[in-house]
Symmetry: C2
DNA sequence: TAGGTTATACGCACTACCGCCTATTTTTCA
DNA sequence: TGAAAAATAGGCGGTAGTGCGTATAACCTA
């Protein structure tokens, strides 16, 4: 596994000493880390294709950690977030968790605990990425179908025989067979079982 | 909708004045409420078939709210929990949320906010119940299959034709057809599409 | 030990699906 | 406006699945 395929732990904190100590901690377990001094700096540099997780200070000048979380949500960017906070605020923690933060940790934090959460976050990110990737693949395949073919596919998945599909759509049995054959080819399905699995996963 | 089919809001708090005010609040929006003075009392009386959600005080003499949450987890009881706490403790809130609490609210709480969360909890519970019920139905059907039939079913879902299944299992093509017919009847499937949908949902 | 269940197997007729070919009309888009 | 794509439809031959009837052997249980 080369560096490009590795997960990165993104650290966003305005306090340079915190950044340095976090980076040191993360690299001590041979993980790749990147630090940013502000939420905006992170937003400007981050590409959703980069796998990893985000360690985020709640209170920062400019855009706060919570605002960054919200912004990422709006942008449709789903990366596991571990919130770091100096002063405990239950309501804020609950809100962040509801919005999808996977953790909310108070400073000063226990190093090992943080590393454990980072591991959990990285694992979750990889799983989500794999899932999204599969969904995207399926969607690409489905996108190749014409409207008529999608219509026929729905009826096939519903278990209707070609004869019934033909009469329901007011077309010939032969045409349904033609559509069906096209669908099978376009979706790379070897048999009906594969076709249905694909449709149901979409 | 008669009372038996209604969701219930279960309140567990050792403070009788809190119990009374919560019950009053809940009943004011025509929801059904039941109060308990201790976690044990709730455990002794609650049956998982009762739909609803749980409002739980974190700090109580005897079993705490968090301990009750854990106990319910061990018992495999999945009911949405709203934690109530007097003193904010971020770590505790995060732990409770990780264990599946859907909310963690500090006293004194805003009435409307709590009612909103209760509504969310009740909705989630109904959804989960519907999902579990479907899963249970499927499992009952699957349980009717003999080991051999399950084996054949797996191969059918994998898309193998009967001929292949026969040679893979070292039995006759005709026997596979017989198993297949039995499977279709036992699972109430009208066609292969339905069969695969059922298998994949299990 | 009798009776039910399970697993096995065959025949026959019918229905459904699959692949490959050709062909016409309509639609879409560059 | 002309080429490409989509939708339509038919033929032919082969493969696969379905329904119904029949039958035997093994096993478990009452």
């Amino acid at each position: 596994m080369v560096a490009e395929n590795q997960s990165t732990v993104f650290v966003v904190d305005d306090d340079s000493s915190v950044r340095k100590s976090l980076i040191g901690l993360i690299e001590s377990v041979r993980l790749q880390a990147k630090a940013f001094a502000s939420a905006q700096e992170f937003l400007d540099s981050y590409s959703p294709s980069e796998a990893g997780c985000l360690i985020l200070d709640v209170r920062m000048p400019g855009m706060s950690g919570l605002e960054l979380q919200e912004r990422l949500g709006e942008l449709g960017i789903d990366i596991p977030i571990i919130m770091l906070t100096g002063h405990g605020d239950v309501a804020m923690a609950v809100r962040a968790m509801h919005r999808g933060a996977i953790d909310f940790i108070e400073k000063p934090f226990n190093d090992q605990l943080l590393l454990d959460r980072v591991q959990t976050a990285l694992t979750q990110d990889l799983e989500h990425r794999a899932k999204r990737s599969r969904a995207a693949q399926t969607e690409i395949l489905m996108g190749k179908l014409t409207p008529r073919e999608k219509q026929v596919l729905d009826l096939i998945v519903a278990g209707r025989p070609n004869k019934t599909i033909a009469s329901e759509l007011g077309i010939s049995y032969k045409t349904v067979e033609a559509h069906r054959a096209h669908i099978m080819h376009k979706l790379n399905a070897e048999n009906i079982a594969g076709l249905i699995r694909l449709s149901l996963s979409a």
